[in-house]
Amino acid sequence: MSLREKRAASFWPLALVFSLFVLFMYGPMLVIFILSFQGPEGGLTFPVRGLSLHWFYKLAEGLGVVDIGAALRRSLGLGLAVMACTVVLSVLAGLAFRKKLKGGNALFFIVVASLIMPSIIVSLGIGLEFRLLDTGIKAALGAFGMDSALEGFGTSLGLFTSALGAHLTWTLPFGLLIMFAVFNRFSPSYEEAARDLGATPWQGFRHVVLPLIAPSVVGIGMFGFTLSWDEIARTSQAIGDVNTLPLELQGLTSTVTTPSIYALGTVTTIVSFVVMGLTLALVWLLGRGRKGRASA
């Protein structure tokens, strides 16, 4: 039996490499989590001085001119919008790709191109697009003599216009690739059975396909939210006057010299992990529900 074989000679060196790699991945992050719980005298480096939630309170009071609470709400709102759009559009497109889709290859190529396009280029392009749109809107308002509207008009760049679009160019490729992976292993015979029993296409989707792909759909939602929650490069030129939390954080790296910034890091990481935890719990529940139905 191959299971009883002696370990290959390369096992231990590679196991060491793997352990060092995991340490390399987690070590620095653990360090800032620890440092964020320091006492009021704590600094940016070791040794740890005291133990308290002091720097989290400082964070809640705000860091300099930055309103952390507002940035957090903006990031949450945008993340939820991105999540919803990613789920709906990926599932729809995934269904479309199962059929003969004329031009599907071109669409697939564009989606993959978006995934590997340097983010600064996408971001710059979207920023340009909306600035040119602004110019056009202002010219139109001026031409029609709507001066009050012209004065009130700031910019069409914003959280739920340009920034939402920028995030979708990053989350949708992941969503579509997951849908591909799901439908590659999906047997169409269930749907055929449903059709033979007289189900309409919608009933077939609602009662047969959706429950089967539900765990992956939840996964796509998680991808959508967490990718948006941490996104900087694609947002940077495409967001306009306000900033999301990661952008604020990036700005703070050069100005804030207290462990408050580590506290902020701890908080955003906790949000990421809570979302992941909820997702995994949901996937597990959905999987259990399916098994329960199957055995009933």
Binding site: M29, L44, L92, D230, S254
Partner: protein, 305 residues
């Protein structure tokens, strides 16, 4: 079978008429998003790169001024121009980060795919590697500060061991810290595709190689590496395109002192020099596309999915 008049090649796949149409209704929202937020923006970058500008606004027109200004002074061979120096520095990071992530990614994937025998443990360890990916990149960057800073853990340790008299300065805000952060952030992009490729390798091929008397290295080089090629190339494309366009990591970890193409574009947009930034973006895009074209000559990605 019989010769039917209507020859739909898709007859076996989709018996219902009009399905192609309904498929396009389903694909339309996605298509619209990529048209509005990807294709049109790219076209606008190309267009604006030929425009003129002043302090206040963009001036539609057609000029090569921006491209000429990007390569200003580049004909002088003795002293390299800023653009070439910046590209060389970006290439240097690309090559370094690519090599390091490739070696680490391959070793880690190899260990997970071929040495961990229980599939439960395998999944667990794989997930362990991917978890850090879900944390903000900036957090992962600044997490190096307490370690590498002037009074950081590494310097404290070195001083206590009397290996150095004064703190080592090149640990943070240097080429070293930038490369380290890139490896820390993006090795995952190598591990996932390589591991995926390795898991598809038929294990009996390895036994066959073993039975034919191949040494461990021969099996590795002649069987495993060629069969992991797709994963290696997909991972390489990810890492190279990310590093080529990056401005966040180089900014934060380089102490805003190190130049990169992405950084130049970002600075130019903050001064509202959009046509200049657009010209730089077009050149960056051309170079990235050439690299990807070269890499994809080696593999058909669509077929491998």
């Amino acid at each position: 079978m019989s010769s039917t008049a209507a020859p739909p090649p898709s007859a076996n796949a989709s018996p219902a008429p009009g399905r192609s149409l309904s498929a396009w209704w389903q694909a339309t929202p996605l298509t619209v998003v990529f048209a509005l937020f990807f294709l049109i923006p790219l076209a606008l970058i190309l267009m604006v790169s030929f425009w003129d500008f002043n302090e206040y606004e963009l001036l539609p027109g057609f000029t090569f001024k921006n491209y000429i200004s990007v390569f200003d002074g580049c004909s002088n061979m003795a002293d390299m121009c800023t653009t070439l120096r910046t590209y060389l520095s970006t290439f240097k990071f690309c090559l370094l980060v690519w090599l390091i992530t490739l070696v680490i990614g391959f070793a880690v994937s190899y260990f997970l795919a071929f040495h961990v025998r229980s599939s439960g443990v395998q999944t667990l360890l794989f997930v362990l590697c991917t978890i850090p990916f879900w944390t903000s990149n900036v957090i992962r960057m600044i997490s190096w500060v307490p370690l590498l800073g002037r009074n950081g853990l590494v310097n404290q340790t070195l001083m206590e061991m009397h290996l150095v008299d004064a703190p080592v300065e090149w640990l943070l805000f240097s080429d070293f810290s930038v490369t380290l952060a890139f490896v820390h952030l993006y090795t995952m992009f190598m591990i996932v595709p390589i591991f995926n490729s390795m898991m598809r390798i038929d294990r009996s091929l390895l036994e066959a190689a073993n039975d034919s008397g191949a040494s461990g290295w021969q099996t590795l080089w002649n069987v495993i590496v060629p069969l992991s090629r797709t994963g290696i190339i997909i991972g390489s494309i990810f890492v190279i395109t990310i590093v080529m366009g990056d401005f966040v990591t180089i900014g934060v970890m380089g102490g805003q002192q190190i130049a990169s193409i992405g950084k130049i574009i970002q600075v130019q947009t903050s001064y509202l020099q959009f046509p200049l930034a657009a010209a730089n973006a077009v050149i960056l895009l051309a170079i990235v596309l050439m690299i990807i074209y070269g890499l994809t000559r080696l593999v058909d990605i669509r077929k491998e999915l």
